[in-house]
């Protein structure tokens, strides 16, 4: 069942000095952007995207997976030291990580996070290596109409989960993304559809400038309002950045051992967190926040000491961080098998495929086996490297949060602008990135999530081509879309997803739970209340 030949092909491609350099570079960049609250892996991957034009496809993707893995771990450092999650996924880590810091156990908390991240990332990739080929074979049985429905299910999930309490705003964002993706020539009849007279739009809205605008520009406009990355920590009463001890190599080995021993003494949390992270990551759009909180909640329910959760229990950090890095591997399953991005960073990876002339979708594994397996093995190597690099760079990374946001803003805007230009040597792309940046900023101001818009932009052409071609096969009879057994099952799933998300969103707004859609704040409150009840 284990595809040794494919793994060997991937390993041959990965283990070259150049490609290993890209993994390492991505990992280091991911660490840095992960510790900066509000920057995140997707923004970094979007800024890095134009830089990959001059390098090979596997090099580009390995850089992205390095960023993904690095940012997943990096986000835990400010969460533990300052109670400010560097990435959204690290919110659950802060619940126990920050109390550990207050108890003088910051090094142990980071050591545990590092080991749990390594375990989650590594085991999840091993699982994905085994399941991805059968999943791909299943995906290849999907026809055009099935692909269309799967894309719609993915978009609905993304709109619901990212939109949170306001499913309607998530849907608006996703629908807008689909509409914008149709500002092009029709893929079937070649009719022009409101391209505003720009010939550059005739083949569709180019992803790269759009992603740069929606991620990098928008986030920098938001960060420009901040004087310091500490603002939230100061509001929450943090006294300042704790100084991590520099203990020489003997101290580092001892620190490594402490983290490994503590983490491995909770094998149940490790296995459950990895399984939950991989499974939830494979559902398009659901992502790290949900996986981490579900893993945290499960760990609390199964722990021998649930009363210690929220008060500095290493078990909470283990559960959250294991799931966080396992999600990265899980998101690659729909991304590589169906061409449907599992997360915002995966959407940027899909754009990298397009950039290098590869159309993502079901045949990708059979046509580009070596690249797909090199990417998975690259994520495995990146996860393993978190352990030594995290020790070597732990105290340096903690200092990065001291950098003033203004320097990050100016430098990122410069790189994003030059990157957008470098894509096709065109000022049109720079203007387009800027327009998307302003649109993204306005949408955030209006409370509309950006991620569904981004994923819809990526999925739009796939969904439209699948629908129109399926309809033309069925002589433009709408019933054709419901005729096969698989399609009927998928339509039922789509309807159930919509109903579930609508009800959950309504319940979340009314403060009555909300399942997947409960806000992180509500989840924390629920965890606190549960811990209080159990403690009492």
């Amino acid at each position: 069942m284990i595809p040794f030949e494919s793994i060997q092909l991937g390993a041959e491609l990965l283990f070259t000095p150049t490609n290993m350099f890209y993994v390492l570079l991505g990992l280091l960049a991911g660490f840095v952007v992960g510790v900066l609250p509000g920057f995140g892996g997707a923004n970094a991957a979007a800024v890095a995207l134009p830089f990959t034009i001059g390098i090979s496809i596997e090099g580009a993707l390995l850089l992205m997976v390095g960023i993904y893995a690095g940012a997943s771990f990096g986000g835990s450092i400010p969460a533990i030291l300052l109670n400010v999650p560097g990435t959204a996924g690290a919110a659950a880590t802060a619940i126990d990580g920050y109390p550990m810091t207050q108890m003088g156990k910051a090094e142990l908390a980071i050591g545990v996070a590092r080991m749990a991240s390594t375990f989650g990332g590594t085991v999840a990739v091993l699982a994905v290596l085994v399941i991805i080929t059968p999943m791909s074979q299943l995906a290849q049985t999907f026809g055009l109409r099935e692909l269309f429905v799967v894309a719609m299910i993915g978009l609905a999930l993304i709109a619901g989960v990212v939109g949170g309490e306001n499913f309607k705003k998530g849907l608006i964002s996703a629908t807008l993304g689909l509409l914008v993706s149709m500002m092009s020539g029709s893929p079937i009849t070649a009719h022009e559809r409101w391209t505003l007279g720009f010939p550059q739009l005739y083949e569709g809205v180019p992803f790269i400038p759009a992603l740069i605008g929606l991620f990098a520009y928008t986030q920098m406009f938001v960060l420009a309002r901040q004087e310091s990355f500490f603002e939230k920590a100061e509001e929450l009463g943090a006294e300042g950045l704790p100084i991590l001890e520099r203990r020489g190599w003997r101290g580092s080995v001892s620190e490594l051992w402490d983290g490994v021993r503590t983490t491995l003494s909770f094998p149940g949390h490790l296995v459950r967190g990895t399984a939950l992270g991989t499974f939830i990551g494979a559902i398009p759009g659901v992502g790290a926040i949900v996986a981490n909180f579900m893993s945290y909640g499960t760990a609390q329910r199964t722990s021998k000491h649930p009363e210690r959760f929220g008060k500095g229990s290493p078990e909470g950090v283990i559960a959250s961080e294991t799931a966080d890095n396992a999600v990265a591997a899980g998101t690659l399953v729909p991304t590589l098998t169906l061409g449907i991005p599992g997360s915002a960073t995966a959407a940027v990876m899909l754009a990298a495929f397009w950039l290098h002339g590869i159309r993502p979708g079901p045949p990708i594994i059979s046509e580009h086996t070596d690249v797909v397996y090199a990417v998975l093995l690259g994520l495995l190597v990146a996860s393993l490297l978190i352990l030594p690099l995290g020790i070597a760079l732990g105290s340096v990374l903690a200092q990065i949060t001291r950098v003033r946001p203004r320097f990050i803003v100016v430098f990122t805007l410069l790189l994003a602008t030059v990157g957008a230009f470098g894509y096709r040597n065109s000022f049109f792309d720079v203007g387009l990135a800027f327009v998307f940046g302003v649109v993204g900023y306005a949408m955030r101001y209006g409370g509309y999530p950006i991620v569904p818009l981004v994923l819809a932009l990526v999925l739009g052409p796939l969904a439209e081509q699948s629908l129109i071609r399926a309809l033309s096969i069925g002589q433009f009879e709408l019933l054709y879309l419901f005729e096969s057994g698989t399609t009927q099952v998928l339509w039922v799933i789509f309807a159930l997803v919509l109903v579930y998300l609508s009800i959950s969103s309504r319940r979340a707004r009314q403060g009555r739970g909300g399942g997947l859609l409960a806000s992180p704040r509500a989840r924390v409150t629920e965890q606190d209340e549960a811990a209080g009840r159990q403690g009492a």
């Binding site: 001059g54 029709s186 559809r193 420009a224 309809l471 033309s472 433009f476």
Partner: protein, 156 residues
């Protein structure tokens, strides 16, 4: 009232966009125009619902006593940090236009200096150092490592 206008501005702008899209694709054959029209109908319905929802929510809340709306707008802009965000948007426009007119080196130098000044940096030596470092890194990455062309204008 300013708060309501602020809340409605984004969905209204999106609704106008959807309507303009509709007027541009309404005459197309179904193979080209069917999906855009479906999306426009869905988006417009959701936006109208959102606008009504926002207006009702605003109406339900207790409204503050009447005050100078222009002043309220300025206070919102100043106190919530929208001023630096607005200025950084303007400097980004400059970077785009400036690169096309004056080229990478001149436009970038002016962008970094002005953006850092408006964002509160006052140390001239640091601004100078960062300008040189940022331009050096960009040049080394794009021109030397990736063999890509930097934007040129009238000067360079």
């Amino acid at each position: 009232m300013i708060a309501l206008i602020g809340r409605l501005s984004v969905p209204t702008a999106l609704l106008v966009y959807a309507l303009l899209f509709h007027f541009n694709v309404r005459d197309l054959p179904p193979a080209a125009g069917l999906l855009p029209e479906l999306m426009i109908a869905l988006l417009a319905s959701l936006l109208v619902w959102d606008i009504i929802d926002e207006a009702l929510q605003w109406r339900r809340r207790s409204r503050p006593p009447w005050r100078n709306e222009g002043r309220a707008l300025w206070e919102l802009f100043r106190d919530h940090g929208y001023r630096p965000a607005g200025i950084i948007v303007l400097t980004a426009i400059w970077l785009f236009v400036g690169m096309a007119l004056l080229g990478f080196y001149v436009a970038t130098t002016l962008f970094i200096v002005v953006a850092l000044l408006v964002l509160g940096e006052r140390r001239a030596w640091l601004i100078g150092l960062l300008t040189i470092v940022a331009m050096g890194i960009t040049y080394a990455t794009f021109t030397t490592a990736l063999n890509l062309r930097l934007p040129t204008g009238m000067f360079l």
